[in-house]
């Protein structure tokens, strides 16, 4: 409802940032956040965090991202538009670490501070990068998997995307950790499921193809839910160890009910919050940390109700 | 005198700038066959489409059985008992005969929820029997010959129990025997008191089947009179408002000794052509007669490479040629004017210039490969002048030309290509008497200038009038060949045309 008004009578709100740029003291700061997506839960949670910081710091933000994480070009167009709105600062989660560099140079020339989030850019233009190490987090998932299946057996990865940074990092983080540390565990299949429905059918096929499968790692909410659905549809509860990534109501429920052993979650709300906070600081000319680690948690039945875990999870 | 069922008065109709009808009128009595005649574009179809609710009149009144009525759509017309068999084929080819006949009034069962196909097929076969047609009602229409499709349309129209039946050129696709059958049906209906509007360009039919004639010209009503009281020549002059060229029989000797330009040997195509052999000489018009479905079009298409053949040889100027498609046929100097002008003949939405140049576009390129529009315009202007095509300019879309002029444009296309051998498939189908005679003139002058012509026609008078030599086909075979001398009569041709095996 509120944001809607934002779009509806946009002329005043669009006018204010430009004024803000001219005389920061006069109006609110305007910080567009160009994300990797907006439809998925993870990005919605980032948005919540960003909005929270915006409210606290009394700045105005907009949040947008392309439909899929493949649309590098659309994201660049969004970044371009964001720059043309003469913002005070920009938050940017690059889909591709290099493609955006020419535009970021433009931002630099225009003296618009850029804060990178989620994953970095191959450039020193962003004053700060708010991120978690996806590969490390996936490594933790691998350790947990190994522990839960007793250090040997077949496992599979159901990744959410074949080409996006997050998809690759999580897949490879898991895979490399298994290959390095657990010689008796074999990754028998890696498949990619784009949405919840496709992921469900995919996970079922993986389980059919590998009757001895002991565990599956789903690399985002959609993939993890797909695995959970598959396990319950095939009535394999307890026979397959499911490890997920991200949070969301369905995963939290599944962990509570025991369907899922546990999951790694980044702190998307924290990412959004820290990004806006750093952007405001940078705009005010304060110094910001070059890397802000927003952290991640491993959560399972045992710790899901802990406050520090709860703070990271989103429904 | 029987009572008047339909009276249309002061009908005006305008199509985006074209005044198709100008305070036109028409009257139909119960139990009469009323001919509606006029040149192409005179407004006959439009007038009847207004009566059946396809178009809405701009002005005027329609009275039905004495009371003024509005006809907002075809359904309303059907309810009144007015039904029309349209000029263009109006069946759904993927549906069966019965489904087509009963479209819009399907028998239902189970509280009207489900279709009762059994009842439908039964009723359909009764209707077909009544009309003496041996067609299985469950056959898909696409499997029927054109003639039978036409019959099915008639049965469909009759099935509405109409008081008024409009037939827009029902015989255009029929040949003599089918026409006889159609006339039998018409007489049967007339007996029952149905009023029939009969639109046709075939003047000879009027005397045979119609009771009165209404003549239209240029969107206006000219006159109505009893057929018995008037000569065909008078009708024609009312229609066109001028004299018509009546061609004499050709000079048959001229082509006798000239060289053979095309020879066809053993042309065979599964189910449609069986061992077709004939020759064509320089400067000759070879008439091809036969009933509808005899395989004449198939022969032409096979020679032209439009359809693949199973076996047989074609010799052009004595050389054996292999023709794998129309693009190869034209290389050997063969041109083909299709029987279906609108669908296969011209690009309706493109202008005269493009249509004339279509077969020869490659010639209109300059060295850089650019199209030379000026030369194209010049050539098509020449064609328009030479063939007397009535068009405001060569930029006019062919859609807006009358049928005869469309046909001339297509002829112009092949003349531009400079083909030695021209195959004309029903060159005068749906063309008014004035345009017809001009096309006859054209064919004769083409032959005189050394072109060789195969002319397929279902109108025997036309064949007899123009051909030097006649071949007759039946069921995919050539059943007879005769020189067009005093012994060549309609009777003899019909004997060959019905010369079936067994």
């Amino acid at each position: 409802g509120k944001n809607n008004d934002n779009g509806g009578n946009a002329s005043p709100s669009a006018a204010s940032p430009s004024k803000a740029a001219e005389s920061p003291a006069a109006g609110k700061m305007y910080i567009p956040i160009v994300s990797k997506g907006f439809q998925h839960q993870f990005w919605q949670a980032v948005k919540i965090g960003a909005e929270k910081a915006a409210a606290e710091l009394n700045v105005e933000i907009t949040f947008e991202g392309p439909e899929t994480e493949a649309q590098v070009d659309k994201q660049l167009e969004m970044l371009q538009v964001a720059l043309d709105k003469k913002p005070t600062a920009i938050g940017f989660a690059a889909l591709d670490s290099q493609a955006s560099i020419p535009l970021l140079k433009k931002a630099q020339d225009a003296k618009i501070p850029v804060i990178a989030f989620d994953s970095g850019v191959d450039s020193d233009i962003p004053l700060s990068t708010v991120t978690t190490n996806n590969a490390n987090a996936a490594g933790i998932a691998a350790d947990k998997m190994a522990q839960l299946i007793g250090g040997k057996g077949e496992v599979a990865i159901l990744a959410h995307d074949q080409t996006s940074r997050t998809g690759i990092d999580r897949r490879d983080g898991f895979k490399n950790r298994i290959e390095e540390k657990y010689p008796d565990i074999k990754i028998v299949d890696i498949q990619y499921g784009a949405d919840h429905l496709k992921a469900t059918d995919l996970a079922k096929a993986i389980m059919q193809a590998h009757p001895n499968l002991k565990g599956i790692f789903g690399t985002n909410e959609g993939a993890a839910i797909g695995v959970i659905n598959a396990v319950s549809e095939l009535k394999m509860e307890g026979k397959i160890t499911v490890i997920g990534y991200d949070s969301g109501k369905a995963q939290i429920d599944a962990i509570k009910s025991g369907l899922m052993a546990g999951a790694v979650s980044q702190n998307p709300i924290g990412i959004g919050y820290e990004t806006v906070k750093a952007a405001v600081a940078a705009a005010k000319g304060e110094s910001v940390e070059p890397i802000i680690d927003s952290g991640f948690v491993w959560y399972d039945k045992t710790n899901i109700d802990n406050d520090e875990v709860k703070a990271v999870l989103y429904e | 005198m029987s009572q008047t069922v339909v009276r249309m008065e002061g009908i005006d109709k305008q199509f985006s700038g074209v005044q198709a009808l100008k305070s036109c009128r028409f009257e139909l009595r119960a139990g009469e066959v009323h001919a509606l005649v006029g040149e192409n574009g005179a407004g006959k179809s439009t007038m009847m489409k207004i009566l059946t609710g396809v178009y809405q009149k701009d002005q005027g009144t329609i009275e039905y059985e004495g009371a003024e009525v509005q006809v907002p759509d075809t359904r309303a017309a059907q309810k009144l008992g007015i039904c029309m068999i349209h000029q263009e084929m109006n069946l759904a080819p993927d549906l069966t005969v019965a489904q087509n006949i009963f479209i819009g009034k399907e028998p239902r069962k189970t509280f009207g929820l489900l279709l009762d196909d059994k009842a439908m097929n039964k009723q359909a076969s009764i209707l077909l029997k009544q009309m003496n047609l041996d067609i299985d009602p469950t056959t898909p229409v696409s499997k029927l010959t054109v003639a039978k499709q036409q019959m099915v349309e008639i049965v469909k129209a009759i099935s509405y129990d109409s008081r008024v039946l409009i037939m827009d050129e029902p015989t255009a696709a029929l040949s003599e025997t089918e026409i006889e059958e159609l006339f039998r049906m018409i007489r049967q209906l007339r007996q029952k008191g149905v009023g029939i509007v009969y639109i046709s360009h075939r003047m000879a039919e009027l005397k045979v089947i119609t009771d009165r004639v209404t003549v239209m010209r240029d969107g206006s009503y000219i006159d109505t009179m009893p057929t018995a009281d008037i000569t065909v020549d008078r009708i024609i002059s009312l229609m066109v408002g001028r004299e018509i060229y009546q061609p004499a029989k050709p000079d048959r000797q001229s082509a006798e000794r000239s060289e053979t330009v095309l020879e066809v040997r053993g042309l065979t195509r599964k189910n449609v052509l069986k061992d077709v052999n004939f020759t064509l000489r320089k400067g000759e018009i070879l008439g091809v007669a036969g009933l509808v479905g005899a395989g004449r079009t198939e022969t032409a298409r096979a020679i032209f490479g439009a359809d693949p053949i199973d076996s047989g040889d074609i010799f052009v100027h004595g050389n054996k040629v292999r023709i794998n498609g129309p693009h190869e046929a034209v290389k050997h100097g063969i041109g083909y004017l299709t029987e279906d002008r609108k669908h296969f003949g011209c690009l309706l939405d493109m202008d005269v210039k493009t249509n004339v140049a279509l077969a020869t576009l490659g010639k209109f390129r300059n060295r850089a490969g650019w199209m030379n529009d000026r030369r194209m315009a010049k050539v098509s202007n020449d064609v328009v002048g030479e063939l007397k095509v009535k068009t405001p300019s060569i930029r006019q879309n062919v859609r807006y030309l009358s049928g005869g002029n469309q046909q001339k444009v297509i002829i112009g296309k092949w003349l531009t290509r400079d083909c030695d051998i021209l195959i004309f498939d029903e060159p005068t189908r749906g063309i008014d008497i004035g345009a017809k005679s001009e096309i006859y003139k054209l064919l004769e002058s083409l032959a005189a200038s050394g072109k060789s012509i195969i002319m397929i026609s279902s109108e025997l008078p036309e064949i007899l009038r123009l051909s030097h030599r006649i071949i007759v086909m039946c069921e995919g075979r050539i059943t007879g060949e005769l020189p067009n001398d005093e012994y060549a009569t309609q009777q003899r041709i019909m004997t060959y045309a019905t010369d079936r095996i067994g």
């Binding site: 439809q39 998925h40 839960q41 919605q44 439909e67 074949q162 498949q191 990619y192 949405d195 919840h196 429905l197 469900t200 059918d201 079922k204 096929a205 059919q208 193809a209 009757p211 959609g222 839910i225 659905n229 319950s232 549809e233 095939l234 969301g248 109501k249 369905a250 | 396809v54 075809t74 359904r75 029309m84 349209h86 084929m89 109006n90 759904a92 080819p93 993927d94 549906l95 489904q99 479209i103 819009g104 399907e106 239902r108 929820l113 489900l114 279709l115 041996d134 067609i135 299985d136 056959t139 898909p140 499997k143 029927l144 039978k148 469909k156 025997t177 059958e181 009933l291 479905g293 079936r500």
Partner: protein
């Protein structure tokens, strides 16, 4: 003598049995491809031909299959519906809104979801037949509108049905399994086959189906026969929408949630299934059985390739080739016929 007046009667009569045979053959061809695929995969992997995997294939066919059933109708009219993917999602979202937010009883919520689909279909049909917008464009616009609205209405969040156990049963329960122990065919599969039967009845036994073929075969002739083509087209698009809505309900129930960002691209899969099943994109020809088989071919293929652990990028390539082959085989058959 009769022979003389009806010249080709002989050939027509002779053709008839062969037509019936051919139409059998058509089903046989697609069905044959399906069997062939099943055999190939069964030989290639011992894990393929298992009850649970077959059930899995059937279940994965259900949603896309119901979409394809709906698409069959518009495709037979010679039209197309590009919006089925996102309208399915919108229907799922609306089902979620009805049941979880408005708290209506589940059956009414389901009907509401289906009617959402029907409404979208109605609107597409309206723009097509009343405003004269070509189906491709009208449904492309509807696709975008439905996509956006799904996100707007759900506030870009999934709507969960966790508290509505009964709703989940619609897809994943098995009343057949309750009747016959061990025969655990999920309800979604049963619903799919029931929908196919209903669709088949509509197409072959009702006036809607008759006009559907008539319009696809020759729209102008149908109109001139006094059929209100414009209205019937709206009806037909509405039916497609109704099936699409059903697919949305099935999907929501299967995922236990309405996922607002899902559905783009499903329309092409549905159309592919319809065409593989022998329905012609130019209209006038098609069967529901064909579509069912087409949808099964698609999901057997996807499942089989996954069971064989073919790399996903190669899976796409193989599916592309199979679509080409299937349609080409159909064309060859027709050319011969």
């Amino acid at each position: 003598m009769k022979q003389a007046t009806v010249p080709t009667a002989g050939t027509d009569a002779a053709q008839k049995p062969s037509i019936a045979f051919k139409s059998g053959l058509q089903q046989l061809l697609a069905f044959g491809s399906l069997i062939l695929l099943v055999i190939i995969f069964s030989v290639a992997s011992s894990n393929f031909f298992h009850f649970s995997n077959i059930v899995g294939i059937l279940l994965s066919t259900a949603v896309i299959g119901v979409l394809a059933l709906g698409s069959t109708f518009v495709i037979i009219t010679g039209g197309i519906d590009l919006s089925v993917g996102t309208v399915m999602t919108l229907s799922a979202v609306m089902t979620g809104v009805f049941i979880t937010m408005w708290g209506v009883p589940i059956p009414i919520g389901i009907i509401g979801g289906m009617l959402t689909g029907a409404l979208c279909g109605f609107l597409s049909g309206f723009t097509i037949s009343r405003m004269g917008i070509p189906p491709f464009i009208a449904t492309l616009a509807m696709m975008m509108i439905a996509k956006g609205l799904s996100l707007v209405i759900s506030d870009s969040k999934p709507i969960y049905f966790t508290e509505y156990e009964a709703f989940i049963k619609i897809s994943l329960g098995s009343f057949l399994g309750d009747l016959i122990p061990g025969f655990d065919i999920p309800n979604a599969v049963v619903v799919f086959f029931l929908a196919a039967i209903v669709g088949s009845l509509i197409l072959s036994k009702t006036i809607i189906g008759r006009y559907n073929f008539a319009i696809g075969s020759n729209e102008e002739a149908t109109r001139l026969s006094g059929v209100n083509v414009r209205n019937w087209k709206i009806v037909i698009y509405t039916i497609t929408g109704l099936f699409t809505g059903l697919a949305g309900v099935l999907m929501a129930s299967r995922l236990n949630s309405a996922q607002p960002a899902l559905g783009s691209g499903y329309e092409l899969e549905a159309i592919a299934a319809v065409v593989i099943g022998g329905t012609s994109l130019s209209g006038g020809k098609g069967t529901i059985v064909g579509t069912v088989i087409g949808a099964l071919i698609m999901s057997v293929l996807t499942n089989g390739l996954r069971i064989l652990s073919v790399k996903p990028e190669w899976q796409t390539v193989v599916v592309g080739f199979v679509i080409l082959l299937a349609v080409f085989a159909d064309i060859i058959r027709r050319r011969k016929a």
